[in-house]
Subunit: 230 residues, 2 copies
């Protein structure tokens, strides 16, 4: 029986744009596990299986419900030992560093470039929720957050230096083969790709070459999903 | 026969302040290998064993000369399989990400706070070399680089967020036990500790708790070295 995954969707149910859901989607593909995704919207909190904290990703695997992308990664490595998401003793700890960089630098910088584009791709009910919750977080309107993004692009690109140097010198964040830390970083780029035509990366950026490599994985899983760009 | 390690020293030969040498020093201790260190100064380029590229760390292990901290880490894991510096398949790749963050964010931010303090701790010949090469790199005087460092401290501390979140939630960068990525980050803090009484971390910073844990390792190897602070 395939695993069920609740996956954040836009007004187009095929537009899947949650960076956290993309981590899980890639992790399931890495393990070679079959999945049936259920499109879910921010405001459909009642439609998740219990225990329900109103967020995705959530997976249901033979009756077992697991929510939160990090908990799902741990669950998958515990339940399906083959093709580990954290290969070797130190990989889980080190992947946390990559995750914390992704959340405090990459996603924090990226959202200020694409937040208005995200809003444009979700349905009316979600738009109300999204605008209200994000404007409260930023302390200003979505339009103000996205203003002058061209001027902020060079600083955003410079903030990618740790990632850039890494994938300039080895094929994946995890070394010779992709693993969970790659999916964490890639999730952020899929968030942007699904919702925004604003090009975050210069054409000759090694990060872009790595992103292309990630888009090609698992039969082009990331590339086939509705989105913009390469 | 112990391994010989050429180690950057200040005017006081016991003041060892290279972040790269500290990586190697901790790596040797991690492996439980005996080491005899040789104090070396920037301007003593002729005193390194061939092949000599004028930089440290360099180790000599039974006639085999290895230079560059990264090459030394790889050499040690190849030659001495026990207690790996890169535990598991993905650890080496992921440690590169931590290294690239350390070099482009942590060390790049730190040097602008401590560069004048470093200069004060080295001998006259090294002072001439250091001032000339660093002023060329920064395009201004060491005094100008260090100016207003109090004002820049909050931004420096904020830049440590990926590290902070990681060691707030697990004891080491590598997870439950320290490994090479911890030594990479710790090397930067030892660079500051050896040369500067400027406190980089707030008293309640989780990074400071982690640094204390690192200072305690291997019989207090890092703490016993001449330096400032805890």
């Amino acid at each position: 029986m395939p695993i069920t995954m609740y996956d954040l969707a836009g007004s187009d149910p095929n537009r899947r744009f949650s960076p956290f859901c993309w981590r899980t989607r890639m992790a399931l593909a890495h393990k070679g596990l079959e999945v049936e995704t259920v499109p879910w919207r921010f405001t459909e909190t009642d439609e998740l299986p219990p225990p329900n904290d109103g967020r995705v990703p959530v997976i249901v695997d033979g009756g077992k419900v697991v929510h939160d992308s990090s908990a799902i990664a741990d669950y998958l490595d515990g339940r399906y030992a083959d093709r580990p998401l954290f290969p070797g003793l130190a990989a889980r700890g080190l992947s946390k560093f990559v995750q914390n960089w992704t959340e405090t630098v990459l996603q924090a910088g990226m959202v200020r470039l694409i937040v208005l584009d995200i809003w444009k791709h979700i349905g009316p009910a979600d738009q109300v929720y999204f605008r209200q919750s994000r404007e409260q977080r930023f302390g200003t309107t979505l339009e103000k957050v996205a203003e002058d993004r061209e001027a902020r692009l060079p600083a955003f690109r410079a903030s990618l230096d740790p990632l850039r140097r890494t994938v300039e010198r080895q094929p994946y964040v995890c070394g010779d083969a992709p693993a969970y830390a790659d999916y964490i970083v890639f999730g952020a780029f899929q968030w942007a790709r699904a919702t925004s035509d604003f090009e975050l990366l210069a054409p000759d950026d090694p990060v872009r070459v790595w992103r292309g490599r990630m888009l090609d994985l698992y039969g082009g899983l990331g590339r086939r999903a509705p989105g913009y760009g390469d």
